[in-house]
């Protein structure tokens, strides 16, 4: 009921009919998404790259993956370059953020989103999505670390759950891909999701 109302409200606020597909929920597929940014502070952070990949059933469609580099308005600071390895010159040929996000929205459509600390990525994306469409990302969000927390709590009801990515990767026995590449991180999150789904926490 509330959901339907929210949707109506969002449809009303939507500026551009091009983005109406965001409101048509498609549940046959999911999209795992990850962003690399100039900072970890949502207020200052600018996009550097976006990686996304669709999940259909048990299959990660890495053959149709989405990866773009984004040209930030300010130079990335030295500290963040060390993490993601994208130097100013690497992203200087990137897309304008609005263009990158528009393409991403095309890719996502009405599919639910999957990610590790997805809240952060969605908050960054919304900085661009809202001015563009008039609404925040309306897609259902599946937080991998949250599902993992539920799974561990079911196993040991009164334990502290370690939610670091390395712990999840090891515990759920998915391969460790080179980190801090947006597409690799999106694929890692997909594999974590499939491993959790198999354990009944999808």
């Amino acid at each position: 009921m509330i959901g339907a109302l929210k949707k109506q409200w969002a449809a009303h606020r939507l500026k551009d009919p091009r983005f109406a597909m965001l409101l048509q929920e498609q549940n046959e597929e999911l999209v795992s998404v990850d962003c690399e940014t100039t900072s970890l502070n949502v207020r200052d952070a600018e996009l550097l790259s976006i990686g996304a990949v669709k999940i259909r059933g048990q299959r990660i469609l890495s053959s149709e993956s989405f990866y773009v580099l984004v040209r930030p308005e300010r130079k990335p600071d030295a500290g963040s370059v060390r993490i993601h390895g994208l130097r100013p010159r690497d992203v200087s040929d990137g897309l304008a953020p609005q263009e990158a996000v528009t393409r991403l929205l095309d890719f996502i459509g009405g599919r639910p989103l999957v990610g590790y600390y997805l809240e952060y990525d969605v908050a960054i994306l919304n900085k661009y999505v809202q001015p563009l469409t008039g609404i925040k990302l309306p897609n259902r969000q599946i937080e991998v670390s949250g599902r993992y927390y539920d799974y561990k709590l079911r196993q040991h009801p009164d334990s502290n759950v370690d939610l670091r990515l390395a712990t999840l990767v090891e515990d759920l026995r998915v391969p460790a891909l080179p980190r801090h590449d947006a597409l690799n991180d999106a694929i890692t999150a997909s594999m974590l999701y499939l491993a959790l789904k198999k354990r009944g926490f999808g």
Partner: protein, 602 residues
């Protein structure tokens, strides 16, 4: 940006560009425990590369192969487009799923990848056929163009335009067409098509102006080897196949590669042609690599053993022929013994060989030749036998009479090594020279063997030398070595079976050398129960396979292949199979104890 490493065969043969393209086209699939990835009759549109987890290949309830991370399956099903075996997930599996069309295209555009790839396919076919070894060698030397050529030619007229040709090629999915023009025959290929564009010729250009007429042909009954040789020498990819002066087909390089595929054919061919020890040394190295390739594609240890035996026999024969003078070769018999004679020696370990010389023949070069032969083998990577069972040792380089005296002494005046020497000799197989000399010696040995049951008991007793490392509660008994738990699979499992079967074969006068063959004959003659013989057969095949995969891993790490396996590295499934295998070894030992009354031997 590469996510998963493609640094394992067959992908090592791809260029960086091709790897990236393949990775870009690949999906990742997750399979749950016990999920069936494909079953007989399913259509197959992808090749799987395991990223993590374990997958079993099954025929009914029998496990045919176990796949781990980096293993590829199933090449054969992918080429055929339909699965013939069941692939079941043993432990949560994450796999790369490579599209069939792309892999097939790579096998065409990259001949080395293609060769490797088809090697695995046709080997799998070969492995299914029993006693692949020797039979395969015969077929390949006699294979003709007719066996491999399956492409029907597409014909066009010389007056047709390039545009017509393009339409025809698309319609018939052909990369080349034959052009008939005023009684001449020409060929037009995609390469010519490219040149037509580059030369800015109009698409209405008649074909006879752009095709080439100096065609290189091969006869349909010609040997496939010669066709391959022609292609290599002329650096071309296709030959026109002629039957009584009429073009009947196109033979592409990839057809030949897919037919020969397994380098075993090529190795055999090279062996026939080698003229120097250096060449032979090179080939000896290739045999080890071949074993690695075939083993990684699921060829079973018993079949591999027979194949390697056939190749080694030719290698030894050729070496002996290069070293010894023709009259020496003609008046002697070079034999291999022990596991080499049984056809169960897959990786190179010790030399076990001997020479029987015709009575009355002598030659001043004989001693030198024997020494040179042992040295050459050592150079090829067969280390000298610690027990010095090799032709350079006078005890194993004897005239017929000397060998007879020796056999007599071993039987009736045994010293410490006599029974072991006898056991090794029982497995002897002739590889070069006059094979009759060995047959005579074996005949003499049989005539000496009487109904003296106490001899057979003494002979069989060696099975008690080592304990089988399986505890009362079916736990694996291991020893620490360099901080790692290890288990000697030869002493604990392979030797008791091989020697037990050898004892039974000797007792019942069965001439075969190979343990699997001996088993079959023992069962046929009612000396062993059929079901029990089958169990022993499977157990030995499993143990040999396990020793092989560990030996290959040893070689890869730069260590010599040993008989020690590390149970910690086995999967749960393999550990269970190993326990079952050792339990059967124990059962077999107690049966032998009963049959030979070992308890009664002093």
């Amino acid at each position: 940006m590469s996510r998963f490493d493609f640094t394992h065969p067959p992908f090592t043969h791809l260029s960086q560009h091709e790897r990236l393209a393949l990775e870009g086209a690949a999906d990742i699939v997750f399979f749950d425990n016990d999920e069936v990835i494909m079953a007989p009759g399913n259509s197959v549109d992808s090749l799987y590369v395991l990223i993590k987890g374990v997958v079993r290949e099954m025929a009914d309830d029998e496990v045919l192969a176990v796949y781990h991370a980096q293993d590829t399956f199933d090449a054969r099903a992918m080429v055929a487009g339909v699965a013939t075996q069941r692939f079941v997930v043993h432990e949560e599996a994450l796999a790369y799923c490579l599209p069939r069309a792309m892999v097939m295209q790579l096998t065409e555009s990259n001949p080395r990848f293609g060769a490797f790839f088809y090697a695995s396919v046709s080997q799998k076919f070969g492995a299914l056929a029993q006693n692949a070894g020797t039979r395969e060698l015969q077929t390949l030397l006699t294979a003709t163009v007719r066996d491999a050529c399956s492409r029907l030619p597409v014909f066009a007229d010389g007056q047709d335009s390039v545009l017509d040709a393009a339409r025809l090629m698309k319609q018939r999915k052909s990369k080349s067409i034959l052009v008939r023009h005023r009684g001449q025959l020409g060929m037009f290929t995609t390469t010519d098509f490219r040149d037509t564009i580059l030369n800015e010729l109009p698409s209405s250009t008649p074909l006879h102006q752009v095709c080439h007429f100096n065609l290189i042909t091969t006869d349909i009954d010609g040997f496939l080897f010669d066709a391959l040789l022609t292609m290599t020498q002329r650096n071309i990819r296709r030959l026109v196949v002629m039957d009584q002066g009429e073009p009947v087909g196109i033979l592409a390089q990839v057809d030949i590669l897919s037919y020969f595929s397994n380098h075993s054919h090529l190795i055999a061919h090279k062996l026939e042609r080698a003229d120097t020890l250096d060449e032979l040394q090179d080939i000896a190295g290739q045999i080890t690599r071949l074993v690695g390739i075939l083993s990684s594609h699921g060829v079973k240890a018993p079949q591999l053993g027979r194949l390697v035996q056939a190749l080694n026999a030719r290698l030894f024969e050729r070496t002996w022929q290069l070293i010894a003078l023709p009259e020496v070769v003609a008046n002697s018999c070079l034999i291999v013994m022990g596991s080499e004679g049984r056809g169960e020696q897959i990786l190179k370990t010790d030399q076990d060989n001997a020479l029987i010389i015709r009575d009355g023949f002598d030659h001043p070069t004989l001693q030198g030749a024997c020494q040179a032969f042992s040295d050459a083998l050592a150079r090829f990577g067969y280390p000298p036998c610690p027990g010095r069972i090799m032709v350079s040792n006078p005890q194993w380089c004897q005239h017929e009479q000397g060998m007879r005296d020796q056999l007599y002494r071993w039987l009736y005046m045994p010293d410490a090594d006599a029974l072991m020497n006898l056991a090794i000799f029982v497995d002897a197989e002739a590889v070069a020279g006059d094979h009759a000399l060995l047959a005579h010696s074996k005949h003499y040995l049989n005539s000496l063997l009487s109904d003296d049951e106490s001899f057979y008991a003494r002979f069989a007793r060696a099975i008690e030398q080592f304990d089988t490392p399986l505890g009362f509660f079916a736990q694996l008994l291991t020893r620490e070595q360099n901080g790692e738990a290890t288990l000697d699979i030869k002493k604990g499992g392979i030797f008791p079976i091989v020697h037990g079967i050898r004892s039974l074969a000797l007792r019942h006068n069965i001439a075969a050398n190979n343990t699997f063959e001996r088993l079959q004959r023992l069962a046929e003659n009612g000396h062993l129960e059929r079901d029990f013989a089958n169990d022993i057969n499977e157990t030995l095949a499993f143990l040999l396979g396990l020793r092989l995969s560990h030996g290959l891993a040893d070689l890869e790490d730069g260590r010599p292949a040993s008989n020690l396996i590390r149970p910690g590295k086995l999967s749960t499934l393999e550990k269970d199979l190993l326990k079952d295998a050792l339990a059967l070894v124990k059962k077999f030992k107690s049966l032998l104890r009963h049959q030979f009354r070992l308890g009664a031997v002093a």
